[in-house]
């Protein structure tokens, strides 16, 4: 009653609510940000910047605090705020920050994360802003943050990682395989897997993962054209690989739950000796020792399966946000974190490999001391020198899912390998056009 006697107020309120409802979403469509700072990194190194890492605080807090202190002492007048984000949902966090215009000044990225940021004009071109530092890094590592179809390099290379393949010697012996001669190529792998499955009457699979884009790369399948405009993994070589995997799946040499496996679930399967082989890193040895002593007693370590002679490696980078107000300080800090001295000291704390020129020749990566950890480290350091990041930088998460789904359909026999890969390539090309 009372309210109805004041219709002007309710109408005004309704109008305001409607206006807010219409205008607020429109405001979300805006560009965000204010254009930011300069791409010129030659000015005085000063001011406050934010540095974001990817799940590193839990184990390396003191290391990064030392790096930040060192930088602030070297460049008086600078202040670095270090923030760390959890591993899970890191891409979502970056995309939310990028969309809201709150991306930190210096960000830890991988090549596939930097590609959309560079396309959106948020990653600084280091060829222009910091080209003088290029010679400090391994040529392959520097190129890993270049985007096909775009000029420039969009992140400093940071640490590299590659891992060996672990295998269960007991399961190999039980199947009548030579446990001291694990497979090195895909053909050897397929033969061993079929024998292992046959001898165990389908109870023990060799692998728990379906082939990823990296497997296609290591098998020697051309993944993308040079211009970066379309994918090419549906060629005869790709089809051949998928047919082999289908054979494994039918023979139960590939784990039954491989179609919806995650790295965590495959690791668990290997830990419980349900599968005979699994990729990993030097960090896993400690885990085997602690959580699965019987597996640890029978653990075998071999290089990654490859037909190209080159292992796959993962590259981490550090990019500078184009919207930073402190470009000189941000570029200087990104270089400081990734220079040879800091990469080497970080590598001594965790099983990663520096991307700086000459660092891999350090005795730490070449001299045996008889321990398992060192053996794995030296073998991995050797392979990383020639390793390749097979995953194309434009291969997004959605594209990975398209490939997984198509591979899944082929393995289940719902589509032929040719049809499945053609569909995957078509869908990935469509996503590429839309990106």
């Amino acid at each position: 009653m009372r309210i109805s006697r004041h219709p002007r107020i309710s109408r005004r309120a309704a109008a305001a609510a409607a206006a807010i409802a219409v205008l607020l979403p429109l405001s979300a469509c805006g560009e965000g940000g204010d254009g930011g700072g300069s791409t010129d990194a030659s000015g005085k190194i000063e001011g406050e910047i934010t540095f974001q890492t990817w799940n590193l605080k839990a184990n390396f807090k003191s290391y990064f605090e030392g790096v930040v202190d060192g930088f602030e002492k070297k460049y008086p007048g600078t202040k670095v705020n270090w923030v760390d984000q959890p591993g899970e949902g890191y891409a979502d966090k970056i995309s939310a920050d990028a969309a809201a215009g709150t991306l930190p000044d210096v960000v830890n990225v991988s090549p596939d994360l930097v590609a959309p940021l560079a396309k959106a004009g948020l990653a600084l071109d280091l060829d222009k802003a910091a080209g003088k530092y290029e010679k400090e890094y391994l040529p392959g590592a520097w190129k890993s943050h270049q985007i096909p179809g775009m000029e420039g390099t969009y992140a400093f290379p940071w640490y590299l990682n590659t891992g060996p393949l672990f295998y269960n010697k007991r399961l190999f012996k039980d199947a009548g395989l030579d446990a001291d001669k694990p497979p090195k190529t895909y053909d050897e792998l397929f033969d061993a897997a079929l024998q292992l499955s046959k001898k165990s009457k389908g109870k023990t699979a060799t692998l728990a993962n379906i082939p990823t884009i990296e497997d296609f790369g290591r098998y020697g399948v051309p993944l993308m054209d040079k211009e970066g405009t379309k994918f090419t993994f549906n060629g005869p070589k790709g089809v051949e690989l998928l047919k082999k995997y289908k054979e494994l799946y039918d023979a139960k040499a590939l784990d039954g739950q491989a179609l919806n496996a995650t790295p965590e679930s495959t690791g668990k399967k290997f830990l419980t000796e349900a599968v005979a082989m699994n990729p990993g890193s030097a960090l896993d040895l400690g885990k085997f020792k602690k959580e699965a002593p019987s597996l640890y007693k029978n653990i075998g370590i071999t290089p990654q399966i490859t037909n190209t002679g080159k292992d796959n490696m993962y590259v981490m980078g550090v990019m500078v946000n184009t919207r930073t107000k402190q470009t000189p300080a941000a570029v200087a800090f990104a270089h400081y974190v990734t220079d040879a001295a800091h990469q080497m000291s970080f590598a001594k704390k965790v099983a990663i490999f520096p991307s700086t020129e000459g660092s891999l020749d350090d005795p730490y990566f070449t001299k045996e001391d008889g321990t398992d950890d060192t053996r794995v480290r030296i073998a991995a350091a050797k392979s990383v020198k020639t390793a390749v990041n097979y995953t194309p930088v434009l291969f997004s998460e959605q594209m990975k899912i398209e490939l997984r789904n198509s591979v899944g359909k082929a393995l289940q026999g719902k589509e032929s390998p040719e049809e499945a890969l053609d569909n995957a390539v078509n869908n990935c090309d469509r996503l590429l056009q839309q990106s």
Partner: protein, 316 residues
Amino acid sequence: MKSSSAVTAPRTAATASRAVTDGPRKRIRRQLPSSPWLFAAPGLLIVGIFILYPFVSTLINSFTDKRTLIPGEFVGLDNFRELLHDDMFWIGLRNSTLYILGVVPALVLLPLLLAMLVQKHIPGITFFRSAFYTPVVASIVVVGLIWVWMLDERGLVNAVLEAVGVGSVGFLSDQWLLLLSAMTVTVWKGLGYYMIIYLAALANVPRELHEAAAVDGAGAVRRFLTVTVPAVRSTMVLVAALSSVAAFKVFSEVYLMAGPNGGPAGEDTTLVMLVQRVGTGLTGRVGYASAISVVVFVVTVALMLLVLRADRKEDA
């Protein structure tokens, strides 16, 4: 001040009483037009920011080709046209619909039976009431992981099945069994919640009705169908409406059990999983994901209307 004026100008009881009541009344009358809005403001603000704004924003985005880092342009009905030719959208729609068909009847009936069971006054029944409610308060992630562990090829359930000679069943590798397993988890987790709602409804059913029916020779089943069900029918409609909306929007159970990929070859993907997959990440297609969200919204509203219409028909 107050005491001195009271001394110098003493008032009668009537005057004093009018002074006490008139002042606030005038103030209330003066404040009425804006004060309801002020009281409602916190709630309106929350609704506006967290419900109205995202809703309108999603609606607008569904007509654009907006991506995570690119604002996008108006594309009319293109996103909705694309939906019609997207196999994954139809898979999502199929799975979400199947979820309703599988979960809703179970969640309408089983909690009612459970409520009738724990309604009885027997020693130790409180323990069972609490036990049945425990899954409701358990974290869905923890629940999902426990079920994955139990239904794994080498898990507890398969170990039992192998021991009794049935052999291993691919609960987590077959697309249909996986969906069924996820439905089982949803039902198991929701039982306690709806049981509490039914307990409240059953408490209002007069005992005399049951006694009269029993005197007339009605058995337990007959009494259930002719006394209990009609008495709690409106609660059953409420449970059907709530559970069907929740089932159509299912995400966590399927995501946890089938993995982020949505099961073998993505065949267990639900519509909400598809929204998450398509619309998030640095290359997320916000416009297209919004179009899927709009479809989810329309279907959800249609479901509610359908249930309410069915209820009204019954009443008539």
